[in-house]
Amino acid sequence: MPLFGLKDATTGVFASYMARFAGQDPRPAWLHELRQQAFARFSDMGFPSHRDEGWRQTNVAPIAGSVFEPQPPLPAAELVRRVRALDLPGVDWRPEACRLVFVNGYFAPGLSSTAAPAGCKVGSLAERFAADGSELRAHLDHEDERRQPFVALNASFLSDGAVIEIAPRAVVAAPISILYLTTGTVEHKGCSHPRTVVLAGAESEVSIIETCAGFAGEVYFTNAVTSFEIGDNARVEYTRIEQESLAAYHVSKLRSRQGRDSRFTAHSISLGGGLVRNNVHAILDGEGTECVLNGLFALDGAQHVDNSTVLDHARPLGTSREYYKGVLDGKAVGVFNGRIIVREDAQHTDAIQSNKNLLLSDSAATISTQPQLEIYADDVRCTHGATVGQLDAQALFYLRSRGMGLEESRKLLIYAFAADVLSRVGNPELRAELEKLLWRKWAE
């Protein structure tokens, strides 16, 4: 039973969604239709409950039970100052950088810099919709996502986001960064439903950094949906950095579809958010594709972070590597669900999955890790492994026996465990910034 359906249309929460839906500009017509269909599906499904498959360990009742309101705009100068003070890694403020910034779901030209590198078309979806944009429709409405409540909710309010198109054979040297900033207060919770579409042409190369962030203590809900369409033999690196306020709710969906011989590396760095659910569906939809899902979640206090990933091997000779690491302190709850599907056609699939977790507090933090292999082909290699452990007492003693203090040694070992994930980040500047972030978090 959904937490709410059409039957609950009279309650405050659903009425608030209805009102927001009705207030949208009905143009262009195709988009309006897409939104109407999505909202009808969402109304029918409601929010998932803990009885729904895939949601047993993550209770989204706090999201389902909240009314989210539009936020008053912040004065531009103050906004710039506060955003820059967040010192977000991966957000490049240099004038020559290509940077798209969205505040509460809407493109913020004053904070952005859309000087697109050669071979790239970069801009906001709102801009495209103003000139129709129906050529994007297929990338905004995937059949396989229609029964996913949060994607349907995002589509119901689809009005802006980032669209990045890389021409075939274009090699984009500098990363393109996207920042989704959401604001809100305890009394007036904010909300954004950002959408990102990346279309990487055949043989192109690009690195995209997407950051979702907010100001400390602010209360809001970010419901982000990102789609990658990766052409044959293209090389795409995607780094997703979640640094939401600890009072924020965050749900994300990443869907990637790869053409033959392409390589997609997706890093997921989850540090913030009170209640977080990251969904990944990577579709290896061409022969000889390679996909790397590389993740880190670092939690403390009462944070709840759920990473649910699906690696979908649909064609032969695909290689996937999934490495997720969790660091859990306080009373935090971590969930890792790693599903690997090897379809009948996907012979000679080579898949390795690993989830390693470090529990820092004595017994208050918990982690649930679950691999799920569904193999329908007969000639494949699939391995998975999960570990849950505490700091290595011998390593701790070893460092101390050389003169390093107890706290210093602990922090260094935690940092080293986590920073290992960053060794797979290809861009050296970004890697250094992320290392600095983790260093500040634990070692300083």
Binding site: D392, A393, Q394, A395, F397, Y398, L399, R400, S401, R402, G403, M404, G405, L406, E408, S409, L412, L413, Y415, A416, F417, A419, D420
Partner: protein, 260 residues
């Protein structure tokens, strides 16, 4: 420098050291020998402050201080160094960062100025040359993927950089080929100084051909049962432990010969 009196220590309720006495003066090299299970490694770990061992009785004075009162890091900062029997791998922490942080913690504690990256590099290069080590080591993670011999050499290298006052080598010679053994000996001999002392815990006499001790002690049943000069090691090599007439050593006699 080091004065151990009536030391008793246990691990999970099992008593391993049972009234150990030992006195080490500055400038001396002492070898502690004895069969497996006699308490050699326990002694080394207790002196370094490993908390899996509980000291139940006895005292340890080091340079006039109560050593047992100090945390492991403060012991290291005060100049105690343990070369581990099984050095620990620490993925993700480079030798360079680790050693510089450790050295500066020691220097700070001893009232010396901390070394910057440039001075540290110069010091490290000097010590590497002394021990014929490869520069690439500093960029590698601490002991990660090292062979057994490389790990032991890295212990000696750390010792050479940290320049301890009291160096305790816990079976550093075990499992080494003769070249690596010579290198370890070179490192220890380079450290010998009227102000420093060395405690060599070893199972084999071979090491003592290269590091000549001033005193040799036989540990058995958690106590020192025999002490002598360097010739005692040769006698043990010859006769094993059985002739010492200690009940714990009768069975171990054969082991002693096999080990040699």
């Amino acid at each position: 420098m080091l004065e151990i009196k009536g030391l008793h220590a246990e691990v999970v309720g099992r008593e391993i050291l049972r009234g150990l006495d030992l006195q080490v003066k500055a400038g001396e090299v002492h070898a502690i020998m004895g069969p497996n299970g006699s308490g050699k490694s326990t002694l080394a770990q207790v002196l370094a402050g490993r908390d899996t061992y509980a000291v139940t009785a006895g005292t340890v004075r080091y340079l006039g201080q109560d050593l047992l009162e100090l945390s492991p890091e403060d012991r290291a900062r005060a100049g105690v160094f343990l070369a581990f029997q099984y050095p620990v791998e620490i993925p993700g922490v480079s030798n360079n960062y680790f050693l510089r942080t450790a050295l500066n913690a020691v220097r700070k504690y001893q009232g010396q100025e901390e070394l910057d990256a440039v001075d540290f590099l110069a010091l490290v290069q000097k010590k590497m040359k002394l021990l014929h080590m490869d520069d690439a080591l500093m960029k590698r993670a601490v002991n990660e993927g090292f062979s057994g011999g490389e790990k032991k050499r890295n212990e000696i290298f750390q010792m050479a950089v940290l320049e301890p006052k009291l160096a305790i080598l816990d079976e550093t010679d075990s499992g080494l080929d003769i070249d690596a053994l010579k290198m370890v000996a070179e490192g220890v001999n380079a450290l010998r100084d009227p102000e420093r002392a060395v405690l060599l815990v070893t199972h084999y006499q071979r090491l003592l051909n290269y590091i000549v001790p001033d005193y040799v002690h036989v540990l058995s049943g958690g106590r020192i049962v025999k002490s002598g000069g360097k010739e005692l090691a040769l006698e043990l090599e010859d006769k094993g432990y059985g002739w010492l007439g200690e009940p714990d050593l009768v069975d171990a006699g054969a082991a002693g010969r096999r080990g040699a």
